[in-house]
C-alpha cells in the first residue's frame, strides 16, 4: 500500500492538521516508510483469531446514574484560550 500526494492531503484534512504543499513530499515518504514496514504483519496468519481490544483484566463496571461531580464551572473554563464570561468562544460558524 503506497500513499499518493492526494491521500496525504486527505489524511491531514481528516486529522485537522494544516499542511503546506511543500510538506507533502516529506510526509508522503515518512508515512510510506512506516506503512511499508508494518506490511510485515501480512505474514501472520490471523484466521479465526479474536481481536484484542484491551488487556481484559478489568471487567466493565456499572454504577448508579447519579451526579458524582460538578459545580466547578470556573475551574472547567479556567484554561479556555479565548473565554468570554462563562462561555467558550468559536469563530463564526453560521453565515
Amino acid at each position: 500500500m503506497s500513499l499518493d500526494p492526494a491521500t496525504v492531503r486527505r489524511i491531514a484534512r481528516l486529522a485537522r492538521i494544516g499542511i503546506d504543499e511543500s510538506d507533502v513530499p516529506a510526509l508522503q515518504g515518512e508515512l510510506n516508510g512506516i506503512l511499508g514496514w508494518v506490511e510485515q504483519l501480512n505474514e501472520v496468519d490471523v484466521e479465526g483469531v479474536t481481536p484484542m481490544v484491551g488487556t481484559g483484566h478489568a471487567a466493565l463496571r456499572t454504577r448508579p446514574d447519579v451526579v458524582t461531580d460538578g459545580n466547578c464551572r470556573d475551574a472547567v473554563l479556567s484554561n479556555a484560550p479565548d473565554g468570554v464570561g462563562p462561555f467558550y468562544t468559536v469563530p463564526k460558524v453560521v453565515e
Binding site: M1, L3, T7, V8, I11, A12, L14, A15, R16, I17, G18, I19, L27, E30, L31, G33, I34, L35, W37, V38, Q40, L41, V44, V46, V49, T50, P51, M52, V53, G54, T55, G56, H57, A58, L60, R61, R63, C72, A75, V76, S78, N79, A80, P81, D82, Y88, V90, P91, V93
Partner: protein, 494 residues
Amino acid sequence: MSLTELTIADAAQGLRARKFSAVELVRAHTDAIDALNPRLNAYITPTKDAALKAAQQADEALAKGEARSLTGIPLGIKDLFCTNGVRTTAASNILRNFVPPYESTVTANLLRDGAVFVGKTNLDEFAMGSANITSAFGPVENPWKRNGDDVALVPGGSSGGSAAAVAAGLAMGATGTDTGGSIRQPAAYCGIVGLKPTYGRCSRFGTIAYASSLDQAGPMARSVRDCAIMLQSMAGFDERDSTSVNCDVPDYSAAIGRSLKGLKVGIPAEYRAEGLSAEIAAAWQQGIDWLKAAGCEIVDVSLPHTKYGLATYYIVAPAECSSNLARYDGLRFGERVPGDTLDAMYEATRRAGFGPEVRRRIMMGTYVLSAGYYDAYYLKAQKVRTLIRRDFTEAFQKVDVLLTPTAPTPAFAQGEQSDDPVQMYLNDIFTVPASMAGMPAMSVPVGLGATGLPLGLQLIGRPFDEETLLATGSALEQAAGFTHRPAIRAEAAK
C-alpha cells in the same frame, strides 16, 4: 553520605532518626536542580518554592510522629501527570500554558503519603519518542558519559527527564509512564530501576493520554526497594478509571530478598535478535548465571510473535493517539491560533501546537482508522496483539518470570541515529511486546558496557505479579552490586 546520593528507604529512616530534616533533604535536591538543570534540562518546571514549603510541613508531621511512607521525600513528576495549580505541558507547545485545576490519582496518592514534588520532568512530546528529543522544551541530556568523551547522549524516552533526574541526584525517585517502553528503556539508558506495572494497576485518571489501551504509570528510582515503596503508594483501584483493576495491593517491599529457590526463569529465544550488541548479550548471560546461582531454574522458552510486536504497536498506538489527541482543538484549553473558519482555526492550531513526530503519529493513526483501511491495518493489528499476548500466557504456564535485555544498545548520542522514524522505533523492540500484552515488566541496571555506559536487563512477569519482578530484580541488583554513578551528578557538581 551526601543527601542526593541516598536511597528513598535510607532517607526515610534518616528523617525519622532526625539525622537531617526534610527541609535539608529537599533543599539539597532543589540546589542540585538549580546547579545542573540548565545543562541537563531534566525538568520543564522546577517547583522549588512549593517544594520547600511542603518540606516544612513534612518536618512538622515528622515532629508529631505522623510520618507516612514518603514524608519529606523529594520526587520528580513526569510532566504528563496533571498537578493541581502547577503547569502541565506534556512537553508540547499546545499545552505550554495549561494549568490543571485537578490532581491525577497517581500524584494524589503520592501526596497523600507525604511526598514532596520538586518539579515536573521533561519527556518526549505527549510521550511519543524513545530519546527525549521531541520535547517542545528541548532535549534532555543523559548524565552519563562515554569513557573519554563529553558528547551529549540521549537519556532514552519518553520518560527521559525522570530518568536523568533520578540518575543525577535531582530527585530521589520519579514517576514515569510507559506505553511501549517509556519507563524501562530510559531507566536502562540512565542506570536506574524502572517498573511498568500491569495494565490496570495504577490509575490513568489525570494522566494525559497517548494510547489508552497501553499507557501505564510506574516508578523510577535508584534501587528496586525504592521502586517497591513508590509503587505501594501509586497503585490501587480508582473508580474514575474504567480500566483500573479492583484487586488488593500486596506489600511490595516484603517481596525484596525473597528466596528464589525453584523459581523458573524463562529465556525467550526470539530476543537474541539481530542488532543485539555483544556487550548486552554478555550482560544477559551474566544475569542468567546470577539467577542460576540464586537457585532459579533456567528454562528456554519461545515467544514466536515477538518480531511483530513493534509493527503492531505502530498501528495500535497511533490509532489511539489520533483519537485521544482530537481533543486539542484550541477551544476549551491549550493554545489557539486564530482562523477565519472553525476548520481553519483547528488546522492552524494543531499545526502550530504539535511537533513533527506527534503530527506524524496522528496522521498515521488517522489513516489506519479511515474508511476502507480499518480492517487491513487496525483490525489486523488487534488480532496480532491477541497472538502476542497468547505467547506470554503460554510461556507463563511453564515459567514464573522472563529475563531479557531491556534495549538492544546502550544510550546513543543526540543526532547519532538516522532521521528515519522506523530506525528510532527499533529501540523499543524488547519492551513493546510486554506492553502489548499488558504484562508487568521492570528494568534493572546490571553493569557497564565497553564504553562505560550502563546496561539494563528486563524482567517480565505474570499479570499483577509485580512481587516476583521485585524479588527477582532485587536478586539481580544484589549480584550485580551496581554502585556506578554518572559523571554529571549533584554530588560531583559541588
